[in-house]
Amino acid sequence: MAKVTYLEAIRQAQMEEMQRDDRVFIMGEDIVCNVFGTTTGFVEAFGLERVRDTPISENGIVGAGAGAAMVGMRPIVDVTLSSFLYPAMDQIVSIVAKSRYIYGGQAKLPLVIRSCLFYGNANAAQHSDRPYSMFMNMPGLKIVAPATAYDMKGLMKAAIRDDNPVMMFEDGTCWSSKDEVPDDPDFIIPLGRGDIKREGTDVTVVAVAGGVPVALKAAKQLAKEGISLEVIDPRCLMPLDRELILRSVRKTGRAITVDPAHQTCSAGSEIAATIAEHAFDALRGPVLRVCTADTHIPFSPTIEKALFPTVDRIAAAARRLVGIEQPAAA
């Protein structure tokens, strides 16, 4: 075990899987110059055939990834920022997600599409997207959004070994966070299994991606007030570990979802609906959502920061839920 950053975990996972399997290769914009440090040493280790700089051509490279996957390769396509997934919507939706299905199982697409959630850094609306929820509305895509270096390494390796298309969303607010990460080349976290990041008894907080560290801070703060939060990180949004979430809600009787995506039709909204549908009898109050407000992300930092989930908003939601239970005593 060594303590490494979230970005280093991405690098290690890719490096190990490319060493393990010749069919794995990586392509994307500015891979060789290695903008964010997730391909340091790759050209030296694997050469320019397996480490490919591409034109700025997201639709083309995602589609090329799909074609290469169909003929037995295992491509990693890095589109860098998740905002750049939009030009590739055509290939992601019509080819990547649907090819196996429309051809009756004849196609296999072991393809990883990487992108970063690059919000909270004064980059304005076209560079600050958190679009995983959009892809949750499309069958055929596995969707992963890790919050820690440990999870990132294990899930990235699982994604590369998976025989289906996987979209890896890498939260920029977690990039520099550090974690103990196993060196075992076969360390894998199976896709679809959530994790209890902090045990608690009063309120279940289901937090997504960069929402997880914020929820953990809120839990720490509320513990001083005698309110115990249980923080659940689904880690994968598709498949979603519903059992883990529902078990926790059945235990606490209260639920908050925390999601850096815009609230309407967010992952947090889907999880809230799942809880309301399947654990209504256990609930002692409404399921509350702490998401990003339904407006665009502005450039000016003074008005940007408050739009995303904050410790204060999570704490207020938790107090409200606990208070609802004892209105008379309050």
Binding site: N59, M70, D90, I102, Y103, G104
Partner: protein, 332 residues
């Protein structure tokens, strides 16, 4: 004519006839309501598909379009699973989940027949990239229409293939119309082959009604691809007899005398005349036509006798592993 060229010529004739009989039958039973959904037929374009596929090896790849029936037959696919697919049967090549726009048989090297115009181009490019990385010498051929050349996916795919000198062949089946819009209103260049200039890609324009000419042009492109020379753009000038889709309740576009003019250069009639001239007997050619018609009848019989898919099969192949089926459909 040597025996070998003779066999090859007869095979081209056979495959074109299979397509024509398949399409005639499909159109007839679609009119009677036996085939659900839209039906896009390939009749008229047979020489383009067959000429191109005959220039490929069995293990080479092919990506096609919504006008999907002709390509797999041209590449050598069996007819039974194709017809069963049109009827939405469980024995269909796509298990009843693709239909007319997706007759794709991976066992003959197909990597999809895709119905979003232009979307197959990056896929073929990726298959060619896979071949290059593996060094297995396979070539990826992509069919698309004149309409696709207005799509971003087309340009991105060509650009990648050219930059990386991939073993790809891009076949523009120019039938003159993007649905109902004539090429002159949506293409600014004189010929579609001019599109390739922006990618410094060699281009060949060929008579798409002449199966031998198409085969020769594609063979040249395949040779270039296989020997590391990179991609080639081939424009086959051809024509579809039917409207964009058949039996739509109204004709989208009345093309007047034009259809009749093109029928005078029907690819199958032209080829029959050439084969007769080359000394093949009429009896031989008639026998091939009867066999093709019989194969289509056999495929239809198979399709009709095949079971429909079970409701639960709507959930197969979303992923490689099973996905949950909602309670209200579990026992349906």
């Amino acid at each position: 004519m040597t025996d070998q060229t003779n066999d090859r010529s007869l095979e081209k004739y056979r495959r074109m006839l299979r397509i024509r009989h398949f399409e005639d039958k499909a159109e007839a039973i679609h009119a009677q309501g036996e085939i659900p959904g839209a039906l896009h037929t390939y009749a008229g374009q047979e020489a383009s598909g067959v000429g191109a596929c005959m220039a490929l090896g069995e293990s080479d790849y092919m990506v096609g379009t919504h006008r999907s029936h002709g390509h797999p037959i041209a590449k050598g696919a069996k007819l039974r699973p194709l017809m069963a697919e049109l009827l939405g049967k469980a024995t269909g090549i796509c298990k009843g989940k693709g239909g007319s726009m997706h007759l794709s048989d991976f066992s003959v090297g197909s990597l999809g027949e895709t119905s979003i115009v232009g979307s197959g181009v990056p896929v073929a490019t990726g298959a060619a990239l896979g071949s290059k990385l593996k060094g297995d010498g396979r070539v990826a051929l992509c069919f698309f229409g004149d309409g696709a050349t207005g799509e971003g996916a087309f340009h991105e795919g060509l650009n990648l293939a050219a930059v990386w000198k991939l073993p790809a062949v891009f076949v523009c089946e120019n039938n003159g119309y993007a649905v109902s819009t004539p090429a002159r209103t949506h293409v600014p260049v004189k010929t579609l082959a001019d599109r390739a200039k922006g990618y410094d890609m060699p281009a060949i324009i060929v008579d798409g009604q002449d199966v031998d000419a198409v085969e020769a042009a594609i063979a040249q492109a395949v040779e270039r691809a296989r020997t590391g020379g990179g991609p080639t753009f081939v424009e086959t000038k051809t024509y579809r007899y039917a409207d964009h889709a058949v039996n739509m309740g109204r004709i989208l576009l009345d093309r007047g005398e034009e259809v009749g003019e093109w029928r005078k250069r029907d690819p199958i009639t032209l080829y029959r005349a050439r084969l007769l001239e080359q000394g093949v007997s009429a009896e031989t050619l008639d026998a091939i036509e009867r066999e093709a018609a019989d194969e289509v009848e056999d495929a239809l019989r198979f399709a009709r006798e095949s079971p429909l898919p079970e409701q639960a099969e709507a959930f197969d192949d979303v992923f490689t592993a099973a996905v949950p089926i909602p309670d209200y459909l579990a026992d349906a």
